[in-house]
């Protein structure tokens, strides 16, 4: 029994089945991007154990195909197990060993990246200084205690908590927050512009004059959801401070008083704070003469890190990112009127894996096919002679 299992795990047939399943999955996942958008298709097909049908819960759902994580994991196990079982050192097999070792590094690196990499954005107008980047999809409900003399105390509640928890009770807050409504993607309209019969979902602040319309989730790569929620503030010593509308589409935070302190509340893109700051000096957008074809984008920024006594100007441009303290800043986009730059900020501890893997695999393939070629030409020479 165990013997059979080991045979199965180390078999070449399993490798081929996994590769073929991988091809089918990638093909289907690529076609699915047309309707789902890249991000959604990626989650459903590639970053999952199974592809489910129907995709959104209708009470029941069944797995119809192994997902990217499952196929990748089986392939990785198969690869390692086969090598452990059959490993025998000969020069003739050097190429094969190198190739597969490189592939193991690459697959493991990909898994690491999937698990630990964080991508975020930093949007800077001219002269702006920021010490945080913002998530491209996730939002957070920030509750800010502004009573401190020079420091604000921020309590950030991720949108996943808002979505699932009706009541939020946190030790740092003298009140409970009850989520009355939550919309993953929404559009806000002034009540005066909508027809009769629409009612606000909040009764405090500007939210009392705004209607919230749910909309389908964004699929285009450059669009993001606009989540909105109605939250009621219930002081822990009793009573209610009313219902407030919080939304990514509302600009300024809203203020209220509770427990003798002043609080601000806002639903904003989730933030990642950094121990250093970045200031935009100048954003440049060049075009080829007489055309609208972009020639180059670049952002000149000042990087200030008191901890490491760094204060220098850096030019970030296409194909030339800034790497600093485990994070990488890329020129990702810009405001249509060139007034602001958008930097992509990536924290990826295993970014080096593919570089190493590529070199090892390429060397392995060269050695392997080189052996074939030499053997082949010897054979031919003998045949001719």
């Amino acid at each position: 029994m165990l013997h059979k299992l080991v045979d199965l795990i180390t078999s070449l047939k399993l490798t081929i089945v996994c590769l073929a399943a991988g091809m089918a999955l990638i093909f289907a996942g690529t076609l699915a991007q047309v309707h789902l958008g890249i991000h959604e298709a990626q989650q459903r097909y590639f970053q999952s154990m199974f592809v489910w049908w129907p995709p959104e819960g209708h009470g029941f759902r069944i797995p119809i195909f192994p997902g990217g994580h499952l196929i990748g994991a089986v392939l990785l196990i198969n690869l390692i197990a086969a090598h452990v079982k059959r490993f025998r050192w000969t020069w003739r097999k050097l190429g094969i060993h190198l190739t597969h070792a490189g592939l193991i590094i690459m697959l493991a690196g990909a898994l690491f990246t999937d698990l630990f990499a964080v991508e975020s954005h930093m949007r800077l107008s001219h002269g702006d200084t920021k010490n945080f980047s913002e998530d491209m999809r996730d939002t957070e409900l920030a509750v800010i205690d502004t009573s401190g003399d020079d420091l604000d105390q921020v309590t950030a509640i991720p949108d996943t908590v808002l979505r699932h928890n009706r009541v939020i009770d946190h030790w740092s807050l003298p009140f409970r927050i009850v989520v009355r409504n939550f919309y993953q993607n929404s559009r806000l309209k002034m009540l005066s512009q909508t027809g009769e019969g629409t009612r606000p979902i909040a009764n405090q602040g500007p939210g009392a004059m705004i209607a919230v319309e749910p909309v389908a989730r964004a699929t285009a790569p450059d669009e993001r959801d606009v989540p909105s929620a109605a939250i009621e503030i219930l002081p822990k010593d009793g009573g209610s401070l009313g219902t407030w509308l919080v939304s990514d589409a509302l600009g300024a935070p809203q203020t209220f008083a509770c427990g003798g302190r002043t609080w601000m509340v806002t639903l904003r893109p989730a933030r990642y704070y950094k121990p250093y700051s970045v200031t935009l000096q100048k954003f440049t957008h060049e075009k080829y003469a007489g055309t609208e074809i972009p020639k180059n984008f670049s952002s000149k920024v000042t990087l200030i890190d008191p901890e490491r006594s760094v204060d220098r100007d850096v030019l970030i441009y296409m194909n030339h990112p800034l790497r600093y303290r485990g994070e990488t800043f890329y020129q990702a986009g810009f405001q249509p009127d060139d007034s602001a730059t958008i930097l992509q900020v990536v924290h990826n501890p295993s970014f080096i894996a593919p570089y190493v893997a590529c070199v090892i695999v390429a060397a392995g393939l060269l050695v392997q096919f080189g052996f074939h070629l030499v053997g082949f030409s010897r054979q031919r020479r003998r045949a001719i002679a």
Binding site: I16, T113, G290, I293, N296, F369
Partner: protein, 628 residues
Amino acid sequence: MKRFLPWIILAFAVVLIAPSWMPPKTAKDDFDFSNFGEIPVLVGGRVKPLDTVARNSLLIIHGKQELRLEDGKRLSAMQWLTDVLFNAPVADQYPVFVVQNSDVLGLFGWQQSDRKYFSFAEFAPFLKQIDEQAAQSDKLEAVQRSAYQSAILNLRNGLSLYQRLKNSIQPEGAQNFAAELHQFESAVPGAAKAARERAMGEDFDKAKLDDVAQMIQRYERLSEMAYVLAVPPFERNGEWHSVGDSLLRSVATGEIHPIVAEDALIGDAYRADDRMLFNQHAQLITDWFGKEQPNTTKRASFEFLFNRLQPFSQSMTLYVLAFLLACASWLGSSTLLRQSAFYILLLALAIHTFGLVSRMYLQERPPVTNLYSSAIFIGWGAVIVALILERIFRDGIGAACAGAIGFVTLIIAHHLAGSGDTLEMLQAVLDTNIWLATHVVAITTGYSAMFLAGMLAIIYVVRGVFTTSLKKQTADSLARMTYGVVCFATLFSFVGTVLGGIWADQSWGRFWGWDPKENGAVLIVLWCAIILHARWGGFIRQRGLMIMALFGNIVTSFSWFGVNMLGVGLHSYGFMQKAFPWLVGFMISQLALMAVAAMPLDRWRSFQTARVPSPGERPQISPAPSAG
């Protein structure tokens, strides 16, 4: 005598293509369009000869690089453009605009007939309507547009390009433009004085000011419309301007740029049918450029030569010839025909290489920068590998593959060129020669190898099933070639794909983003891995290898073209709806061949007659190394 047959055939091929390499002769008393066409201008961010502008514009509007009038007279692109620039009323009557969509014709109340070319004059009453309809479809993404919407948008773009061309060198309909400029130049100082006086609150000559103000308005319109920037800077890294722009600048300097003045004289001479004067002033401009901008001029006249030679269409002819000779060599008098095919292929490859290198020189880029150049390069790479195979095996198979792939890829390139300038400037993110030279070249070399393996499999199946010419030795050679080429493809596809990931890591901040083009590339790598493992594991033999290589054609064509048709992702440059039926047709043909190859071996004509053990049953030729 027979020994010389290959050389005779080669000589015949040289004679076939020689005429295009001869310098053209213009009769002394005719318009010298080639001299005029060599003049450099700036369009689309790149300095190019006027001839390129003419060819590309006519290609966009008309779908061809030559215009045939209803009376059968042929106009070269330069002849057409000269009319558009200087003699709009005549050009307006030429049937250049292609409309084949019956809904678009119906919009104007026209019934569809066998006529598909229409003149600007015919559309003139409907311009506003066309604009409105096009604006509606412009709001949609290319993938979402219906056939009608794409057609009306194309028509609008063609018409607008045409109108901009008409206002590039002089205002449309100007009759005596040189005189007008002369008057403008002499009126400017007086007007400037009047303007100063007005600003100071003194008495000023209103008539003088009004004259010039009117002209300035006219030149402002001209500068807004201009498509061609024809006026070069005096200093090396200065900016190019359109004629209208340059004239507006003259108001400040008081001087008209010599090129503007010369262009005006050329236009007047053309309308007056004064050939001597036209040629004389065209020569003056080329002389001016040769003296002031030697480098620009050298490049532009080389591009002019390149346009005229059309190296890729010459290679195309030769590839067909070589393919036919190679196939014929399997029927009889094999050695001589095979050698002829080989020589002709060398000639074709030389011309192909000349074209490829010329493009690199003109663009100052690695060979592949867009879909068009990828087709050129894939063909080039496959032809070289196939010729090496031919050199080793000497059985006509490599030669046949080289001919077929060279021809087909150049045909594909020819059809991809319809969108205009194939030497276009690169988007900012692509502006890096290192990655274009490594990632893109490796990936396209991988495509070449995959198609070559597929072509070898096609030969195996077609010769094996439909003829009796597939002997055991040939079959074995084919299998060895296919296996070697798949190994080659694996190496390049893998390295190319990973280099692409590293480039993405450098420019977008992630190694892998599941973008369609990335997925397409990895599909090829996976398919290669499956083929190699299946062979190493002994799951497939000769015939299985061939069937899998055929499927490789499908995977590669999906990766090359299919993913671009999805219209998603960062790589989705060059969307082409028109190619879709062709792609599907190609895939179906490959599936059909796979089905044919899967027939029982006693139905294969070659194996029926030979009565040797079928290749599927025989042990492998080369010892298969076991895989991990």
